[in-house]
Amino acid sequence: MAELLEVNGLTKRFGGLIAVNQLSFSIRKGETVGFIGPNGAGKSTVVNLLTGYLKADDGTIKLEDRHITHAKPWQRAHFGLARTYQIPRPFPELTALMSVVTAVLCGKQRVNQSLEDAGVEATQYLEFVGLFSKRNILARDLTFYELRMLELARALATTPKLLFIDEVMAGLNPGEAKRAVEMVMRAKRHFGLTIFWIEHVMAIIMDAADRVIAINYGQKIADGTPDEVISNDVVIEAYLGKGWRQYA
């Protein structure tokens, strides 16, 4: 498989704190890459750096041989990067349909597409995530699960190549979480996506990911298949502390 995203020596400092330190990895087309690490490891900072919300102090990011290190978030969205948020961030004053319509209009440039045409296309994404019947409801009135699905529809509507998913399970009950994970996997198959998935629930990552990257203190500590990473001593130590063997 060809490389879709290449990250080399990515570094981010907040004053004296090094949040991300010389991080390098690559993502191949069609892969589902799990991104794990204990709390405060720098996972969300990495996603913010990759999507352009934060500027990297050092390092390079390449998307399909195109340098995007200094590109703005809107340019990265046009190049094919989309994300969902850990806590859903809908457009509260817009209906579900209009939220997705904007993503259709502002994501990848479509030829000969009017606002009405964008509305028709947006209904397909809402239908896909199961929100068609809620299309005329204001986003602020949707339930938490529906907001997660709306975010997914909004991200899909920008026609991404690489989708960053930031903790899809957070705030969902087990039944909703199962449906949400199935939905993400269905979107991957249906739209031919590559997924970069941050998740705290290890069971999900083990099932869904082809490869897992683990970080701690902003540095990569493991990169391999889910089984390799979960049995890696450094990863276990990062989660459980240095004395974990006494209790094993």
């Binding site: 978030p73 502002c106 045409d117 509305g119």
Partner: protein, 348 residues
């Protein structure tokens, strides 16, 4: 080439791989036609019944015509500008100075009033990118006040204390009542054009994109909206439109004084029009403009010297009682709800 196609219910325009649809549905025109007729018939009736009302109507139209672009600016930048009267001052002084010193008429000064307002807006447009919240409020609040100080410091140019006199009038009939009638129609015309243009923009794809900036600009950025471009364009266009009202005031009254339009009192009146009518609701600006102008006139006639106290008290009570953020127009809209755009029904 521009390709225009007229269908039964819509006009479709295609240009360089882009496409725009305009829905033409006469059932949506009823209210528009009715209220436009009311606005156009009202000055003619006032001309015969009570000529003083024409002046109040001009004031109402001016308030509305400043508040309408302010709505566009608010939605497009996601911030409330507390100094819209700064651009009234720029447009007004440009028109007045050109008219007095070069002897130019209203039509000659109009483009310059717009250009100067736009240039001033471009110079201050970085504010909408770098400042937000209280900082933006303070910075925009300061602009007209600083300009007012400038008019006093350079009093030889601006005549800060008394104002500039001798500006060419918009229309000059022998009959004073006819002058007022013409001004009422011109101001109503400008206000209606603003209303139509801004409403069209806000209901188009560009309005939708502005709405996302207004709701959450970081998320909008992430889905591909060039937020700086959207914010600067809406800020500059709205400022140019507000500048035209400065031009109108200068040529309508034949004089322009910063002391009248740049202090807090005038700015607060505009912001009250904006809030009482309905925050960032274009039709609410007209409701608010007429409500404030007529309330002020009625209080002056009935309460005399007590008016300056009663006027803000009534408005404060209204701000508390009216639906939050929706204003007077919100009351109407709640009873007559209409979709943001016609719902797309998909047969299942």
């Amino acid at each position: 080439m521009v390709d225009i196609e007229v269908k039964r219910d819509r006009v479709v325009l295609r240009y360089k791989g882009r496409k725009w649809d305009w829905t033409i549905e006469p059932r949506y025109w009823r209210n528009t036609i009715f209220w436009t007729c009311v606005l156009l018939v009202f000055p003619a009736i006032s001309y015969f019944v009570s000529p003083g009302l024409m002046n109040t109507m001009v004031s109402a139209n001016i308030y509305a015509a400043i508040a309408i672009p302010l709505s566009l600016m608010t939605v497009g930048t996601g911030r409330i500008n507390f100094g819209p009267n700064f651009y009234v001052g720029i447009g007004g002084y440009t028109a007045a100075l050109l008219s007095i010193h070069l002897g130019w008429g209203p039509l000659a000064t109009l483009p310059f009033a717009v250009i100067f307002s736009v240039v001033a807006a471009v110079l201050f447009s970085p504010l909408v990118i770098v400042a937000r919240g209280l900082y933006y409020v303070l910075l925009t609040l300061l602009l007209p006040l600083v300009f007012l100080e400038v008019t006093f410091i350079y009093t030889g140019i601006f005549k800060g204390d008394v104002g500039l006199f001798g500006v060419d009038l918009l229309v000059q009939f022998d009959n004073v009542k006819l002058n007022f009638l013409a001004a009422a129609y011109i101001s109503a015309g400008i206000m209606l054009i603003y209303l139509w243009v801004v409403n069209k923009v806000l209901k188009s794809r560009y309005g939708l994109i502005m709405a996302t900036v207004n709701d959450d600009e970081e998320v909008a950025h992430g889905i591909g909206v060039h937020i700086s471009k959207v914010k600067i364009i809406s800020f500059v266009c709205a400022a140019g439109m507000i500048g035209v009202m400065g031009w109108f005031l200068a040529h309508y009254l034949g004089t322009f004084a910063g002391i009248t339009y740049l202090p807090m009192t005038y700015m607060l009146k505009i912001l009250l029009v904006f809030m009482v009518g309905g925050r960032a609701q274009v039709f609410g600006c007209v409701t608010g403009g007429y409500f404030i102008a007529f309330l002020e006139m009625i209080l002056i006639r009935t309460m005399g010297s007590f008016q300056p106290v009663a006027f803000p008290i009534i408005l404060l009570i209204l701000l508390f009682l009216l639906p939050r953020g929706e204003g007077l127009f919100g009351l109407y809209r709640k009873r007559h709800y209409r979709e943001y755009m016609p719902t797309i029904h998909v047969r299942r």
